[in-house]
Symmetry: D2
Subunit: 332 residues, 4 copies
């Protein structure tokens, strides 16, 4: 099923493919010169009000992986797992070490972490294409050592509320690929695969304007079973470079997956690094979510046959951040 | 209006008051011995489904303050403001310093911060009463140097979804107190004040089982106007110690305010430190939110006369944390 | 005594003064194109062997200020004081929380800090002059988001061992300026002042090739008495811009002071920021030390009349750092 | 040569061995009740003055390993490698992003790290024996969540200056063990081995009161050749548990090695964890150094036949720290 239609790939010529795809999906100027939201502009109040109608049972699902030292990060580009330490503890409270009156005791804590250590949204300042950031701004004027001065994640603090749709490609295709429930490493999910999954899942899986699309590969389920190993940066199923046009034409507001890197790895060119990011973030202005945990939600969707839901996935609005942790909540 | 009915205070005898209030509202064993959620148990699917009906226009409000170095923290008990630094920048991308192929550039970042530096939920392991944590567990077995081994915030990752209700006490009482729109420092909000606000705001402000109650004092509005000064730890309006019984009898799931410390400061006893925390967290099992930004939401509620809404306030689920940052989203 | 001879200052024209001073003292190419040490090249084995002869009594003096949360940093340019937290404690050990066998208990800790939070050496990559770093290298090729790729402080790890000389200008001039033992804020120490101090202190205070020069203003003594206040970044005595030539001609290897900023503040031009840094670091290649505690050593030197000593001031060699903490040890 | 004389080991009964060894070498009360220095008390001015006579050529050797993200830490007990990030860079300076006048540009940086991530001294609060810290103090009163309130490393800030002696056991015994220049993993260095090394190296290797003893196993040399692998926490040569008495009787002030853990690993009992630490730190009050780089110094000592030198190894005096980074400088 991995036949790519929209942008057939010449593995040996990534730059030409990148140039063509970028030109085809570029949204610069689509909203306004000052825009800092990109495809989040597809979400409006009407969209959110309509999505609220998807809440029936009232069941909530956290789509966050854990945030702790036992995570997938391995130091690549200085990304470590969160280091959580205590400023005060119950042990000290019990021993009377704290100096509070009348039996009050307290515990307090700090964390040190890369903002993309675990479940996160990439900000629009996370990736540049040939020196340019979202909306065509020079990268060096957008993200300096002081952070993202223009498109910091704080601008999206109330934006990530919309209809969510889960496409469980791993469940649909895994069995036929010899890995039931999961896609094998290196499997590039094509536009046809997305369409086939929608068709198989039924009308609740239709994808359209303003949706937050969640694509499950099963990669996290495997990591949970076998250990993290090279979950971060290593081989994985993921979206094909050829899905750029599909995502563009559906006018999705954001896309998240249960993988480290959103797109397939190894990438589909002989020499490239995350080329779909290069198209999606600076050119389309698409918000990308990574390291999400879609397994419990997928199980529920499979059981009740409904693959859409109300989704609130509001990142912590660190000023100037190019990515931020999020505890996404799907409600059915 | 500051007449306290339920627990008249003897300023000189805090321990007796603490003992009495703790006994009156203690929820230990109410759910089960293994309980790690406390009053969040008041929220169930039916409550959430009903709350979803409050979404009409589809407008979303982030109730998060900013997360950056310009925050209120002043070093007290080693709480600093977040330090956000970059691992990669657009400047380096533009200068070709990064080594990625085909024009891809990237930015990445890290943060070091106390978990309660800005908008947050206290975890149930945050406060102890005479050596005991929530549900009567010995503090030293719950929160060690490795974190909260029992009631870590990760257990609540899908819990904070319910009906929210805003009581804008600052708006109601500020004018008559000489501080229009805001309560003066040291003002203790009593049960009568809460009832009066509900009465003034009308039926949408009724408070009941499973609600997430937001109490606006106006303290943040003043900090925004005048600078942080001693917002963290200094004098402030806040809930009176005497509201413990009111909160208990209404069976609220959580309470958050626009102040640093939730309860009035200075505290209402000659010698005490955050005595309402000591009642609410370890005894009631009540989730407390602090440093929220309720101003935009309050303006909207005032305009349309509806003070309840769907609230998703899911903290980042740091494993073993005794508090965690949150970007709360109210949707009307 | 504040008459500047070598570079008379036109307060209104800092750029001309900076250009002239930079040209006058520039050491680019003096050693070799690949040089990463600057004036530390003035120290050689013979110098160190000779300096060892200054050890007579065997008394050692740490010249480090404390490293903790009660330091001078105030958040300016995101410089905070060190945050020190525990990974394990004696409290947990005593309570049996650690799981080690046979009664072993342990404590462990972490720190998060700016590298120049307390007593430190500036690295050669800390300051640039019109886009150029030490030895004329383009700044953007030297210090990227990955750190100082060329002149990182690790290259100096065995260099800071030499004869130290203390010039206690505060002790000499303070009384006549109305601040006994200390210089008043804004006092610019001139070449004449340095010469006068040497003359007053006697032959052991002579300054020459390869020396590590310590200049005491008394600013720290005042902070110790009055609190930090604006010790970091505020007004202070310090070296005059006009000392660049003096330092250059004496061929000192490094200079450290008991102030935050080494040079006088406010700076001596109507509009400028640390112009002596701009001359000394990228042009001379001079190592600058800040936030040193010279008080105990000064007392001893005053008592025995000997102002030189063996000095070992080896920074922690963080790879790629543009500054690093040091615990300097003077031995007499 | 691994015959242990002083404390023959019963592998099956570590607690009895620990009790006996602790009693045999315990220095509690040897100096004074308030003592916070332990065996560093063996160093006095006369010792330092005498040691200064060992400086002949003036050559200095840094004994620090590197401090960066490519270090040996692997997350065990939350110990990570240092994370170094930039607050400002040359790239931003070159692009004019910084706002300083007249062409001044700057770079600045921060670090987040465990204090024992790389070359370090253990503090006296690092290890406890059956609930007691150095000098018999209850562990829970010494090291709380606020750090070491009694024996913090800051008390030693001017202490680590003395005669250093290198015993290159790896060089002496490696060849006969089949690993030339290095000891094999699990090799326990006995008192006899130490004596044999002294005998082989000659009079300059004599070990006595107040010396800082450096024992080279060759473990780091192997890590340099083969990669870190399990350098941190894994198998390694190191001091035998049986050396406690030898170290005690020689009255050394401190001992450091080129390994992660100072003592042999796996430990010499069937079930134990770092039992020599348990004897040496809380009972003897011995300062232990780990992760030192002794290779260049060892080469020099071998060439000139002199194994003693002046050693200045002053840790960064973090207030309340139970360990601290150090850049030790040996001068010959």
């Amino acid at each position: 099923m991995s036949t790519a239609h929209e942008h057939p790939l010449d593995r040996a010529n990534p730059l030409a493919a990148i140039e063509a795809a970028a030109a085809a999906v570029r949204n610069w100027g689509r909203w306004r010169d000052e825009d800092v939201l990109g495809t989040l502009n597809f979400i409006d109040d009407a969209k959110r009000a309509e999505a609220a109608g998807l809440i029936r049972r009232g069941t909530s699902f956290s789509l966050a992986q854990s945030f702790d030292g036992d995570g997938p990060q391995n130091g690549w580009r200085r990304r470590t797992n969160p280091v959580h330490t205590m400023l005060d503890t119950g042990a000290d409270a019990a021993l009377g070490n704290q100096g509070f009156p009348h039996g009050l005791g307290g515990a307090d804590d700090v964390v040190s972490m890369p903002l993309q250590a675990s479940t996160q949204w990439d900000g629009l300042g996370h990736i540049f294409d040939r020196g340019l950031a979202w909306n065509g701004r020079p990268a060096e004027t957008v993200v300096t050592s002081e952070g993202d001065l223009v498109t910091g994640i704080e601008h999206t603090k109330d934006s990530f509320v919309s209809r969510g749709v889960l496409l469980d490609v791993g469940a649909l295709l895994g069995a036929s690929l010899g890995t039931p429930g999961e896609l094998p490493d290196g499997y590039a999910i094509t536009p046809d695969d997305l369409d086939a999954t929608i068709a198989a899942q039924g009308p609740s899986a239709a994808v359209g304007r303003g949706d937050l699309l969640l694509v499950r590969t099963g990669r996290l389920a495997r990591a949970r079973r076998e250990g993290w190993k090279d979950y971060a940066g290593g081989p994985s199923a993921g979206l094909s470079f050829t899905t750029a046009g599909w995502l563009h034409s559906r006018e999705v507001a954001g896309v998240a997956t249960d993988t480290w890197g959103f797109e397939v790895r190894p990438n589909e060119f002989d020499d490239a690094f995350q080329p779909l990011h290069q198209i999606a973030i600076p050119n389309m202005g698409l918000s990308i979510g990574e390291l999400w945990d879609l397994d419990a939600l997928a199980g529920d969707c499979s059981r009740d046959g409904r693959f859409d839901f109300f989704l609130v996935a509001a990142p912590i609005p660190f000023t100037g951040a190019v990515g931020a942790p999020v505890n996404p909540i799907a409600i059915k």
